[in-house]
C-alpha cells in the first residue's frame, strides 16, 4: 500500500518503525557529541533552563569523580533541573506507555538492558550518582513507547539513545559519559563473556557478566570451589559453578548424590540428582547432541527440592510424570 506523498514526507519526522533499539543498546561507537548535547539542551529548555556546560567523561565510573559528591538525594526539592526533567519524562512515559500496553507490546530488550547491561554498569559505580539517565540504555522503554501524537517530546530521548551513554543533568552543568568501547553478549544478546569483562570503557572500567547476570570478576577470571561455597548470593554461586563447569564442580565439592539413573532416550548417559546447597537440588543432564570437540556438554538445572528421584526431577521439568518421561525415545 503506498501512501500519498504528503504523508510519506511527514513520516520522516516520526521514528522509523522497527528501529533497531537493540543495536543502539549494544553500540560501542564513540558518542555523537553535537547531537547528544543538542538533545540535552532541548530538555533543559523544556524546563526553562539555558543550555548547560557539558563535561564529557569516558565512563559512568569516571562520572562519579566529577559529580558533586556526598549530597543525599532530597525528596523535597522539586525545583532542580534533574527533578523537573524526571517529572516530565515520567509523565511522558506514563501517557505513551499505556497505549503500547493496550497493543500488547512487551519489550524483549528488558532482560538485555534493564536486567543485564544496567546492573552490570551499576556494579562499577561507588554508589548512586543521583538522578541521571542512561542514553543508549534507555532503549528498552523507548522500544515499548509509542510516540503517537507527541513525537516532539519523545525526540530528544530517542536521540540520546541513538547517540550517547549515560548522562546526569545538574544546574548549569551536564555530565555526559561515552559509550563502552567493548560489549560482549551471548546468543540471546545478554551481556556475557567467559574469558574477560563483558563491558569495557575507554578509561579501563570493566564489568563482568554471565548470561545476563552481573557477577564479580573472580567468577569469570578465577572461579574456584572455595569461593563458590563461601559466596552468599546463590545466583552468583550458580554462575560461578557453571563457569567452572558442573563436572569440575561436582568432582571437587562432592555434593551428596541423591540418585543416578540412565537417561531414557539418551543412551549411555545418566541423569544425576545432587543435594547441591541448602534447599537447592541440581539435576545434571548430558546434552543429546555433541559439541564441536566431540564431547557432550553436561548442563545443570535447579529442581524442586522435594523431588528426590532423578527421573521424576527430569520429568517434572517437562511437566510429566516419571512413568511418562521413562518412555522418552530420543533426545537431541
Amino acid at each position: 500500500m503506498s501512501a500519498p506523498g504528503g504523508l510519506e514526507a511527514r513520516s520522516t519526522e516520526v521514528p522509523r518503525l522497527g528501529e533497531d533499539w537493540l543495536a543502539h543498546a549494544l553500540s560501542t561507537a564513540p558518542a555523537d557529541r553535537p547531537a547528544a548535547e543538542e538533545a540535552v539542551a532541548t530538555l533543559y529548555a523544556s524546563v526553562g533552563r539555558p543550555p548547560p556546560e557539558f563535561v564529557w567523561v569516558r565512563s559512568p565510573a569516571e562520572a562519579a569523580t566529577v559529580l558533586p559528591a556526598g549530597k543525599a538525594v532530597r525528596t523535597d526539592d522539586w525545583q532542580t533541573v534533574e527533578a523537573q526533567i524526571a517529572a516530565q519524562v515520567s509523565d511522558l512515559r506514563f501517557r505513551l506507555r499505556r497505549r503500547s500496553e493496550w497493543q500488547g507490546a512487551v519489550s524483549a530488550l528488558r532482560p538485555v538492558v534493564r536486567e543485564g547491561l544496567v546492573p552490570a554498569i551499576n556494579s562499577t559505580l561507588p554508589g548512586s550518582l543521583g538522578v541521571g539517565w542512561a542514553g543508549q540504555h534507555d532503549a528498552d522503554w523507548l522500544a515499548e513507547t509509542d510516540s503517537g501524537s507527541e513525537p516532539a517530546l519523545l525526540a530528544p530521548w530517542q536521540t540520546l539513545a541513538r547517540t550517547t551513554g549515560w548522562w546526569w543533568p545538574r544546574e548549569g552543568r551536564c555530565v555526559m559519559s561515552d559509550r563502552p568501547t567493548a560489549v560482549h553478549v551471548d546468543v540471546n544478546s545478554l551481556p556475557h563473556n567467559d574469558s574477560g569483562p563483558a563491558i569495557t570503557f575507554a578509561d579501563g572500567t570493566r564489568a563482568y557478566a554471565w548470561h545476563g547476570r552481573t557477577v564479580p570478576r573472580w567468577v569469570i577470571d578465577e572461579p574456584d570451589v572455595v569461593r563458590i561455597l563461601t559466596e552468599p548470593s546463590i545466583e552468583v554461586r550458580f554462575c560461578a559453578a557453571e563457569r567452572l563447569g558442573w563436572e569440575n564442580y561436582v568432582e571437587q565439592a562432592r555434593p551428596p548424590l541423591l540418585g543416578a539413573v540412565p537417561d531414557p532416550g539418551n543412551p549411555g548417559h545418566d541423569l544425576r540428582l545432587y543435594d547441591l546447597w541448602d534447599q537447592i537440588n541440581l539435576l545434571l543432564v548430558v546434552n543429546g547432541s555433541v559439541e564441536r570437540d566431540g564431547t557432550r556438554r553436561r548442563y545443570g538445572l535447579r529442581t524442586w527440592r522435594w523431588v528426590r528421584d532423578p527421573l521424576e526431577a527430569a520429568a517434572q521439568t517437562y511437566g510429566l510424570r516419571a512413568d511418562q518421561y521413562a518412555q522418552l525415545l530420543r533426545r537431541t
Binding site: N188, G288, G319, L329, T332
Partner: protein
C-alpha cells in the same frame, strides 16, 4: 536407539530420508557446522526431546489438549520458541499441506499427516512421525530453560 525409530513413511509425497543440509536449506536457520550435514534425520514415533523442548504424543496425555491445530505450517517453517533477540530458535518444518499447528496456552499443538521436522542451530534436526502432538517447553525451579 535403532530399534525405537520408525523409518520415513515413504508412501507420503515427501522427500525421503531428509538430512540436515536439506532442512537447513528450507529455513533461514543454520546449524553449527560440526553437526553431520549428510546423515539422515531419524523420524521418531513417540516421546522425544530436543534441548529445552519436549514432543508429547496425545495418547500419553490425560486428558489430551482440546485445542485443534488450526494454522498450516508455512514453507519457511514456524519458530516454536520465539528466541530472545534472535537467539536459538526451534523451527518446525513441514511439507505444504501436511502439518497444522496452534498455540495451546504456553505450549503448541501439532497435527501432521506426514513426517515433519524440528531444527535447532545447536541440537540439529529430528523428525516427528505423523500424529497429534503437544510440544512443551522445559522449566527448572528458577523458570523457563533456554538453550
Amino acid at each position: 536407539m535403532d530399534c525405537v525409530l520408525t523409518s520415513t513413511h515413504n508412501y507420503y509425497a515427501v522427500p525421503k530420508n531428509m538430512n540436515l543440509a536439506e532442512l537447513v536449506d528450507r529455513t533461514n536457520v543454520d546449524t553449527l557446522d560440526h553437526l553431520e550435514r549428510q546423515a539422515t534425520v531419524p523420524v521418531v514415533d513417540g516421546l522425544q526431546a530436543q534441548g529445552d523442548l519436549i514432543v508429547i504424543p496425545f495418547d500419553l496425555l490425560d486428558p489430551p489438549p482440546s485445542t485443534e491445530a488450526g494454522t498450516e505450517v508455512p514453507p519457511e517453517g514456524v519458530h516454536l520458541v520465539a528466541a530472545l533477540n534472535g537467539g536459538n530458535p526451534h523451527v518446525l518444518v513441514a511439507d505444504p499441506g501436511t502439518c497444522r499447528w496452534s498455540p495451546d496456552r504456553d505450549a503448541t499443538v501439532v497435527q501432521n499427516s506426514a513426517p515433519v521436522y524440528l531444527l535447532h542451530p545447536e541440537h540439529g534436526g529430528t523428525g516427528i512421525a505423523p500424529g497429534r502432538w503437544l510440544i512443551r517447553r522445559q522449566w527448572s525451579a528458577t523458570g523457563l530453560v533456554a538453550d
